[in-house]
Symmetry: C2
Subunit: 339 residues, 2 copies
């Protein structure tokens, strides 16, 4: 009974603080929520919640504000995931459905997510490691320069240019191309390294330099580093918090400019399904210690592919944000599946 109400008080504090962005006091609380007890009682509960580290006061004689730990409890036990209305769902589906290619899907997704959550959105490109090679192409751009293009079954296209020290011979190129195709097409990206291990042995010694250069480029294309691709959007939403609370936007913007950081944020997601929330210092990125990150994985069929999510202030509408992230992830999966 007592324990029960304390949690209810915490929920009320989080909800009020999220909507007003101002410390919430005992009196305001009983007025806005029908808790059935007097402010004095609430004060006792608040003192207890503060002892346990779920809330804190910015200064004596101000209301209470949730701590990161408080948000954590709120997310874990007190808040659900708010489902989107069917109108919203339809809007998402139709907007994503208009996409013409993978780039377009990613771009639309990030816009959608930013717009739906009013926060900064990030979307990772489908991971190569889980997909297969659909096509591989070699194109001569000039007499000593060529380009290798690898197309995945997800529709993702990666390219890389290769400098050759010798003149590129069309016949040789055609030969390499067809052998590459045989070796790689329909193979998973993760096995490309193995498949190419002895690839150069099939060629004459004087052709080897070119072949090795091409192999190197191919390997780089499928390497971890090249796999790192994240699009970002909605950064202007950060400015809304300009003069609110301890959210200085400079470090946040700086952190978000680093692809590595974005990938860390999206990558640290536990493999279990559903929406993941990391609050404040939980996301081990300096500069984001007063933000929360809400992510979800999306997937084609049942193989896990990549993640998307949003970054916002710790005092965000978790239920709504989680709902939006989940829904968008779901529809992206569907679109990629359908295509």
């Amino acid at each position: 009974m007592l324990e029960e109400r304390r949690l209810e008080v915490l929920r009320a504090i989080v909800e009020d603080f999220v909507s007003t962005h101002e410390p919430v006091g005992s009196k305001a609380l009983v007025e806005r929520h029908s808790l059935g007890v007097s402010p004095a009682t609430i004060r006792n509960d608040m003192a207890a919640l503060e002892d346990e580290g779920f809330i804190t006061q910015p200064h004596t004689s101000a209301g209470r504000v949730p701590t990161d730990r408080g948000y954590r409890l709120f997310v874990d036990r007190l808040s659900g995931v708010k489902q989107l209305s069917s109108a919203e769902r339809r809007a998402i589906e139709s907007f994503l459905g208009e996409a013409v290619d993978l780039d377009d899907v990613m771009q639309r997704t990030v816009r959608l997510l930013a717009q739906a959550t009013k926060q900064v959105a990030m979307v990772q490109y489908p991971s190569l490691t889980r997909s297969r090679v659909r096509h591989i192409e070699l194109v001569a751009l000039s007499s000593t320069r060529l380009m290798i293009i690898v197309i995945a079954d997800t529709g993702r296209v990666d390219q890389r240019s290769v400098e050759s020290s010798v003149l590129v011979d069309e016949t040789l190129l055609a030969d390499i191309r067809s052998r590459l195709s045989v070796a790689l097409v329909d193979k998973p990206f993760s096995s490309v390294g193995d498949e190419l291990a002895d690839f150069d042995l099939a060629f004459e010694a004087h052709d080897r330099p070119l072949v090795t250069a091409i192999i190197a480029a191919a390997l780089e294309t499928v390497s971890e580093r090249a796999d790192e691709r994240v699009v970002l959007g909605g950064t202007s939403h950060l400015a809304r918090y300009q003069d609110a609370f301890p959210l200085a936007i400079q470090p946040v913007l700086e952190a978000l400019e680093e692809q590595v950081v974005l990938l860390r944020l999206l990558g640290e997601v536990p493999t279990d399904s559903g929406v993941t929330v990391r609050i404040g210092a939980e996301n081990s990125v300096e500069g984001l210690s007063s933000t929360s990150v809400v992510t979800a994985r999306y997937a084609r069929s049942d193989s896990s592919m990549a993640s998307l999510g949003v970054v916002g202030p710790t005092h965000m509408d978790y239920a709504g944000t989680m709902g939006a992230v989940q829904a968008v992830a779901q529809y992206v999966s569907k679109i990629l599946d359908g295509q």
Copy 2:
């Protein structure tokens, strides 16, 4: 003599204001610059400059601040383009030289430019309209879905997926592919529309739907809209001005999120060479009326290709920024040429 000194005063005001971000008064001016006259004289000049609309005072009894018109005069007649040091030039060259492909060049350029100017940088991808088709490829992704890939001689790769209402036949696909190659390879992108005008006539009636779908996709790939590609970086520099002056960052961030806006900024550049500066309201984009945009074109060989530039507060270091933009444009041209 008098006219001469007035301009000198304007220059001094702009320089001081840019470095301090505070209104500059007559006394401070004579102290920091050896103008050889008394504050009272300067005051007279200032009054004149204010009458002509080059400077203004934020409020009575504060120093003067340059107006947009003042900056314009400063840029046109008083300021040169500050050349970079040779160390800086070497750094640029080596950093850009390490790029492995076009995407990498663009990405490195935008980082470089942002870092060098401490401002928001934008870089446009080489325009398709001035380049030629090097290779064209059709790849079946599934039985009813295929992808068209167009490679330009600049190394730029564009793709688009095509849905087919009928099953895709490999033989037909090969036929279309080879005819497309014949029709388009080495042709300028601008003529692709003409080249494909009667393309479908060469095929059997029942193959036409697929062929037209492919043609449509190919045309979209080379269309204006697809040509619009700009990368952005260094947005965190905006936050430095957070509490400075009438530069609210929200509208700026919002404007910069729109590709269309970026293209307008980069596109409105007059064809004559050199660095272009647009100050305040001169760049007709709402939300950017208190920023200046410094752009330059870059080109491979002598054919004009695209633009790059930075966005910053009107009170920026024009000489330094222009120097950096010019230098980077120059080196990008060089790198693209060399590759």
